[in-house]
């Protein structure tokens, strides 16, 4: 069986887990690691989590979705997770100022690390909300060639649209 990988990344609390859960056939595995402070007393523990989903394409092809932790201090995981990916989705919470700011640096990181196609998904934005999309594009500093897609991470069809947008971009890059 051949498996391909798509990475879903984005700032903290942008909706990555929800995004993956919407289309994943399997219950999303979210591994939590308690990272304690130097004293080991539990104060200041935080959770590192990585989401994982699967879409069965055919009997011999499986698409895995890997969600990266959004916090900057776990950025050391991004590169490892991104090895061999087909493409990636940068999910941005269009309603959160901090999310937009973080997304800019994350996009720079991933594009500098890999040349695979990517799309930016604006979560919580309706398709007809052109004005928000336009504003978001300018704030993210996206090139016109970069796809900015509206998305509702809770909606399966919306998430499918984003994935299809990415896949078509991948297809175009192969031509």
């Amino acid at each position: 069986m051949q498996s391909v990988k798509v990475v879903v990344t984005g700032p903290f609390n942008a909706g990555k887990t929800t995004f993956i859960k919407s289309v994943s056939e399997i219950t999303v595995l979210s591994t939590e690691r308690q990272v304690s402070d130097a004293l080991g007393e539990g104060a200041g523990e935080t959770t590192v989590a990585m989401d994982f989903g699967r879409i069965t394409i055919s009997d011999d092809v499986v698409l895995y979705l890997f969600g990266t932790p959004g916090q900057q201090r776990f950025s050391f995981m991004w590169e490892t997770l991104s090895e061999g990916m087909l493409g990636f989705v940068v999910l941005v919470d269009a309603l959160e100022e901090d999310s937009i700011k973080e997304a800019v640096s994350m996009i720079e990181f991933f594009t500098g690390m890999s040349d695979v196609p990517f799309v930016v998904a604006a979560n919580k934005v309706a398709p007809e909300d052109v004005e928000t999309l336009s504003t978001l594009r300018s704030r993210l500093g996206l090139d016109e060639s970069v796809a900015l897609l509206p998305c509702d991470a809770r909606d399966r069809e919306s998430v499918k649209s984003v994935l299809l947008g990415l896949l078509y971009r991948i297809l175009d890059s192969m031509s």
């Binding site: 391909v4 990988k5 609390n13 909706g15 990555k16 929800t18 289309v23 399997i26 219950t27 999303v28 595995l29 591994t31 939590e32 690691r33 308690q34 990272v35 304690s36 402070d37 130097a38 004293l39 539990g42 523990e45 935080t46 959770t47 590192v48 989590a49 990585m50 989401d51 994982f52 699967r54 069965t56 499986v62 698409l63 895995y64 890997f66 969600g67 932790p69 959004g70 201090r73 050391f76 590169e79 490892t80 061999g84 087909l86 800019v104 720079e108 594009t111 500098g112 690390m113 890999s114 040349d115 695979v116 993210l140 500093g141 996206l142 970069v146 499918k160 896949l167 297809l171 192969m174």
Partner: protein, 754 residues
């Protein structure tokens, strides 16, 4: 001589004159129906006087004058009450407590004497009686007031009082503010006391009431009102006005009292609510704490049971990926459970990312109560992850967790000192496992020392019992060391190198003999695993930074790798300054980097490069997504590194293909310098690091090993922005080359059918 009579027959000044001329010592008491007064004489001179007729006590006078505070007066009165009868007078207590001086007391007593006597002078009637005394009583504070002065002052006041009585014939007259002030009022300036009086004049209070409310004598208040009245600011209120205004005042006072009561009740109610809320929060916190303790105890018990059961499979379990947290799957989720293939993919990925802790956790959440109920990722606080099938948890890698090394606080300096304490020329007979004392939990009874620990032998500690090792104590290390090993004295020595024969030989032997080394994982108990597995895990997460960036040889500050480590350290609560790697700001303290790799390492005290050139695979390793999207480097590559380490003791230059080790497609070759006389073992080198720190296994070790072996030198990551897509060929990570258009089209069809 008996001297008594009535003031109707003799005026008080005449009586005073008689006592003074006779030079008598005693007390003259004057009584009338509603008041009583007394004047004390010593040899014909007055030294004290008091009356209860509009009298202002000494303490009140002092407070009104600002000489003492009300609280000081209260304390002095309490002392006087405690002394009961026969105790000291208030003035004496105030002096002994340091509130006033003798001079101040004398001045105020003198004022009190004059006011009292003047009041007595105004009595038209009253019986007087002089009682001779042998000695002066306690009231005698040594003050002597000339009777002539008293009489003169009294007379002056009497004359003034007579003038006042012409306009204020009675103390029961009520004054009010004039509706049409006279012309001369615009130039009037009032003293503070006069202002206070004026504010009280509201057409309801008589002169006597004003005097009582203000704590002044009738004479003082009448004198001020006389002046204000004469100036035209005040006028006499008629009886009707007084009645009406008093009624309004009573109504207003009642309303004000009601509002005050409401405000007071509301305030008390709020206070009660706050107290109740606080009590509720405290109870909730205690309950959470109890629940957390119960959970911790359950988890510890379950872990202990699991450790016992998995003792026989420790070596196998150490190589597998960590189990996941088992979280409850919400009933409404009907998605499939992951298959074994899915788990393998996921575990490989998570192992590559989180350094393969290989520890099975009991299906109980971690002790932190906040993490227990949610079981969610950081992304969605309200959502829950799913629970894998029971079979999956069973198939998860059981692993040993003899020690939770994270629970031990390991000062970074301790291992370094420890190593320096060993005489370089003394061959160190190393125990089976690296005897790092800081890993040992001293407070845990029953715990085996690290040197003696075998994965299958050590029980899993209870998380609740884990106590950070606060202070490094040489004792445990002595337990670990063999009899031949010298005692650790923590004496600084030059360098932990300069063995006559290559130190790596011992290390090579020891590496072969090492069955396992504890592997630090975040929040996991330490897991023993083969060193090659450890190193493989390290390689998978080594950030791609050059050795120059690590050691600052080119003057450049370490960029992404060090910053990532710094961030990780901060996340773990460790200050970045504890980072063993030389930080940019520390580069100034180190010797200048010459660019000569061997010389730089020697200057940094890190030994020299080995001269061995192992034969390694030169072919880059591609990582297709076939069943394991992200593979760790192949066992061959792991064996290569093992061979490399083994060959470090040999005198040969090293040609290292870091691409095969790092799993990258690009070849990076470096030629190491020939080693000099001093070498350092990997163990000794590793001992310099605080392995309780996750960053140790997140890439830092890899960086150091790469630098040590002359590797590194990966190309700097190209700078790119979202505005400009990177140019072809500038990137490090590549897409899976086994995916073609046909496959992508199939994937598109599959996604469309979702």
């Amino acid at each position: 001589m008996a001297l008594r009579g009535n003031l109707k027959d003799f005026s008080l000044p005449d009586v005073f004159q008689l006592v003074t001329l006779s030079g008598k010592t005693g007390v003259l008491r004057i009584k009338r129906a509603d008041a009583e007064g007394s004047v004390w004489f010593r040899d014909g001179e007055v030294f004290f006087a008091q009356s209860d007729w509009h009298a202002e006590p000494l303490g009140i006078r002092l407070v009104a004058a600002g000489r003492i505070t009300p609280s000081a007066l209260g304390r002095a009165l309490e002392i006087q009450k405690d002394e009961s009868s026969g105790g000291r007078r208030l003035g004496a207590i105030l002096i002994s407590e340091g509130y006033i001086t003798d001079k101040v007391l004398e001045a105020f007593v003198q004022e009190q004497i004059q006011d009292t006597i003047f009041d007595l002078f105004r009595w038209d009637e009253g019986d007087f009686d002089f009682e001779p005394l042998e000695t002066a009583p306690a009231e005698d504070i040594g003050l002597s007031v000339s009777i002539e002065n008293i009489v003169m002052e009294g007379s002056r006041r009497l004359e003034e009082w007579n003038r006042i009585k012409k306009k204020i014939p009675s103390m029961e007259i009520v004054f009010k503010m004039a509706t049409a002030p006279g012309e001369g009022t615009f130039d009037i300036s009032l003293k503070p006391t006069e202002w206070n009086l004026l504010l009280k004049v509201d057409g309801t209070r008589s002169v006597a009431e004003l005097a009582r409310e203000l704590g002044r004598t009738d004479f003082e208040v009448a004198r001020v009102i006389y002046g204000l009245f004469s100036a035209g600011l005040l006028e006499v209120a008629s009886d009707d006005e007084v009645v009406r205004l008093r009624a309004e005042r009573l109504e207003w006072e009642a309303k004000f009292a009601k509002e005050s009561e409401k405000a007071r009740e509301s305030e008390e109610r709020q206070k009660l609510e706050v107290l109740e809320r606080e009590a509720q929060l405290v109870a909730e916190a205690q309950e959470r704490e109890r629940a957390g303790r119960r959970t911790a105890e359950d988890a510890a018990a379950a872990q202990a049971v699991a450790a016992e059961e998995e003792a026989a499979t420790a070596a196998r379990a150490a190589a597998e990926a960590a189990a996941d947290h088992v979280v409850e799957e919400p009933a409404f989720l009907t998605a499939e459970t992951p298959t074994a293939d899915d788990m393998a993919v996921f575990e490989q990925m998570i192992g590559a990312v989180l350094e393969v802790p290989a520890t099975q956790e009991a299906p109980v959440e971690a002790p932190a109560p906040e993490a227990v109920p949610t079981g969610i990722s950081l992304e969605e606080p309200g959502e829950q992850a799913a629970e894998p099938a029971p079979g999956l948890s069973e198939s998860a890698a059981p692993a040993e967790a003899p020690l939770d090394l994270l629970a031990v606080e390991t000062p970074a300096e301790a291992p370094l000192d420890l190593m320096e304490a060993l005489p370089p020329e003394t061959p160190v007979e190393r125990p089976a496992i690296a005897p790092h004392p800081v890993y040992e939990i001293i407070e845990e009874p029953g715990e085996q020392s690290l040197a003696e620990a075998q994965p299958e032998a050590l029980p899993e500690p209870e998380p609740a019992q884990l106590v950070p090792l606060e202070v490094f104590e040489p004792g445990p290390f002595e337990d670990v060391a063999t009899a031949e090993e010298p005692a650790v004295t923590l004496e600084p020595v030059e360098e932990p190198v300069a063995a006559e024969e290559p130190f790596f030989e011992d290390v090579a032997v020891d590496l072969a003999a090492l069955e396992s080394v504890p592997l630090m994982v975040p929040d996991e108990p330490a897991v023993a695993m083969p060193i090659d597995t450890l190193l493989r895990a390290e390689r998978a997460t080594m950030p791609l930074v050059s050795d120059a960036e690590i050691f600052g040889g080119t003057g450049e500050a370490p960029v992404e790798g060090a910053q990532d480590l710094t961030d990780l350290l901060e996340a773990l609560g460790q200050p970045a300054s504890e980072l063993p790697t030389p930080a940019p700001e520390q580069a100034e303290e180190k010797p200048a980097m010459t660019g000569d790799y061997a010389a730089d390492l020697m200057a940094l005290g890190l030994g020299e490069l080995p001269a061995v050139e192992p034969e390694l695979e030169a072919a880059p390793v591609e990582e297709p997504l076939t069943g394991s999207p992200t593979e760790a480097p192949s066992p061959e590559a792991a064996a290569d590194l093992t061979d490399l380490l083994t060959s470090l003791s040999e005198e040969a230059p090293v040609v290292l293909d870091t691409s095969s080790i790092l799993g990258e497609e690009e070849e990076v070759s470096q030629v190491a310098e020939e080693p000099g006389s001093g070498v350092i073992s990997t163990d000794a080198f590793l001992a310099d690091f605080d392995t309780s720190d996750v960053s140790f296994s997140s890439g830092l070790l890899g960086d150091e090993l790469t630098a040590l072996t002359g590797g590194g030198g990966a190309p700097k990551r190209p700078q790119a922005t979202a505005k400009k897509l990177p140019d072809e060929g500038e990137h490090i990570l590549r897409r899976d080359q086994h995916v073609d258009r046909a496959l992508v089209e199939r994937i598109i069809e599959g996604v469309q059918k979702l």
